[in-house]
């Protein structure tokens, strides 16, 4: 046991001794990582149980009461994680998720990169404009869907203005379903790009740290 500990220490020492080119920086703070994986998990729960509530699968004889509970409980968890992330963003004055006007000008160039018309993406800060647009739309749509969900949960007893605004229960469901489809269409895109564009970002979402490439190379 003691031997193992010593072994680990030497490896850490090696790592710290400038073994890696460039410097190691904190890329994803702890709260961001907790939010990311917690939200990913609970959103998956929401989306799958929402789809089942939309149209019961033929091959899947599951208690509907339970499905409903999964949907609502995952929603509360997801809301909690979003609240954490927002608090964290406010405390750190973190604006990395908000799309800025000057970034939007870069959007055509980014698109050109994804369509193989440019060999490199335009310069960007922590997230590029495509990511910013997708992340902020997720946040917005998640909040809208949750509000609609809450009003259907309360069966028109609270949030009545929302019922009147959207024009009834059936349309409310329809909007939630469409939001679900948007999530289902953009999440695979997110996973695909994060696995093929820059793997070190992906590992940073687990470890938190990332190697900053030496300046002369980038």
């Amino acid at each position: 046991m003691k031997k193992k500990k010593e072994l680990r220490k030497t490896i850490f020492k090696e790592l710290q001794r400038g073994n890696v080119e460039g410097e190691i920086i904190l890329f994803q703070p702890l709260w961001v990582r907790i939010f990311h994986w917690g939200f990913a998990l609970s959103l998956t729960g929401i989306l799958l149980s929402g789809l089942e509530l939309h149209k019961p699968a033929k091959f899947f004889a599951v208690s509907y009461g339970d499905m409903f509970k999964i949907h609502v409980i995952s929603s509360w968890f997801a809301l909690g994680f979003v609240a954490l992330r927002c608090t964290d963003a406010i405390l750190r004055r973190d604006q990395s998720l908000i799309p800025k006007l000057r970034d939007i000008k870069l959007f055509p160039k980014l698109l050109a990169y994804y369509l193989f018309l440019r060999s490199a993406p335009p310069p960007n800060r922590k997230y590029n404009i495509g990511q910013r647009l997708v992340y902020s739309s997720w946040l917005l749509l998640f909040l809208i869907a949750s509000l609609l969900g809450l009003s259907s949960y309360w069966q028109g007893e609270h949030l009545i203005w929302l019922w009147r605004l959207v024009g009834g229960f059936q349309r409310l469901r329809w909007i939630k379903f469409m939001i679900t489809i948007y999530f289902l269409a953009t999440i695979p895109l997110h996973i695909y790009l994060s696995m093929t564009e820059n793997l070190s970002h992906l590992q940073a979402m687990v470890s938190g740290y990332e190697r900053k490439p030496p300046p002369e190379k980038s």
Binding site: L7, V20, P56, M67, G168, F177
Partner: protein
């Protein structure tokens, strides 16, 4: 009762009432003044009854409206009277009589929310009564048709106790306070996840488009035709006839989500749109993977983002321990 853009279905529904009987209502309970379908008189003689009520009993009568308010061509798609050589439109008459009524009650889905008459693409630009009488609170007794008990119950409540408690869309809470789904006798099938796969089966009809979860009415406990039966009781889904947006938002009646109207006049099913969007993104991602592999972009990105350190750690075996211990049953051997 004024009839505007309607099929008179609510009158037909109303004369199925039991008990009180229809004749009892007319002869003993209410002073039923003017009604196209029920009047014995006709023409000017009948219309004069309405005008007399309007001028002699202001703020004492109840106006019932059946049928939607037709707006196209300034309302001239719908004429309801002939007065001093002029044709009177439904909107004008309802506004005139409605402003001096003690209560205004809209009966049936057309008068409450526009109903089938306002269905896509709504060439007559129909709406409910509340839209032409914004300064008054209209009591909505929706349904296609409205249940006779809902109509008579509301009228009796108005006569005996005044305005009933109304819910979010102006319907009396005593009839429209709960969803069909919450009181449905097949609810335990739903909770267990046991669904009918076709209309006509005895399980929960959710899969075949039941709108019970989004529809507020008391059909499960009141039932229809002298409490004999109701749609779900004969194995066909609720079509959501009491809700605003019926029938467009509720059709196709056998499918969960409404179809989406396209500009050309056709409609497309929500689920097909969803599958289309998901199919398109999957195809796009697969295409992008193939193109990136072909161009070598994935390979380059992966290499770039997983660079090795300057020199790799290598471990060497430093010491090997051998532990010896005495065999327990060594003596026996």
């Amino acid at each position: 009762m004024i009839e505007t853009g309607t099929c008179t279905g609510d009158s037909i529904s109303f004369d199925n009432i039991w008990t009180p009987t229809f004749s009892d209502i007319f002869s003993n309970i209410l002073d039923w003044r003017y009604d196209w379908s029920m009047n014995q008189a006709q023409g000017n003689a009948a219309y004069q009854v309405l005008l007399d009520t309007y001028s002699k009993l202001p703020n004492e009568y109840i106006l019932l409206v059946q049928g939607s308010m037709i707006h196209s061509d300034s309302g001239h798609y719908d004429h309801v009277a002939y007065e001093q050589g002029k044709l009177i439109t439904g909107i004008d008459l309802v506004r005139r009589i409605g402003l001096k009524a003690k209560y205004v009650v809209a009966i049936g889905s057309c008068a409450t929310f526009g109903g089938p008459v306002s269905g896509y693409p709504n060439p007559t630009r129909s709406t409910g009564v509340q839209d032409v009488l914004p300064e008054r609170r209209v009591i909505n007794v929706s349904g296609c048709p409205a249940h006779p008990d809902w109509i008579m119950g509301t009228l009796l409540h108005l006569a005996l106790y005044g305005e009933p408690e109304l819910e979010k869309y102006g319907r009396p809470k005593m009839f429209y306070g709960e969803t069909i789904h919450n009181r449905c006798p097949r609810r335990y099938y739903y909770d267990q996840g046991i669904f009918a796969t076709d209309i006509g089966q005895k399980e929960c009809l959710y899969r075949v488009g039941c709108k019970g979860p989004v529809t507020y009415a008391d059909c499960p406990i009141r039932r229809w035709n002298d409490r004999l039966n109701w749609p779900i009781g004969c194995n066909t889904p609720c079509i959501g006839c009491t809700e605003p947006g019926y029938p467009d938002l509720m059709s196709p009646f056998t499918v969960h989500s409404p179809d989406i109207p396209l500009p050309g006049g056709t409609k497309i099913a929500t689920d097909s749109v969803a599958l289309g969007v998901l199919g398109f993104t999957s195809a796009a991602i697969i295409g992008h993977v193939a193109a990136s592999l072909y161009k070598g972009r994935i390979q380059r990105n992966l290499l770039k983002s997983t660079v090795r350190g300057k020199h790799r750690l290598s471990l060497i075996k430093v010491k090997t321990f051998h532990i010896y211990r005495v065999k327990k049953n060594a003596k026996k051997e």
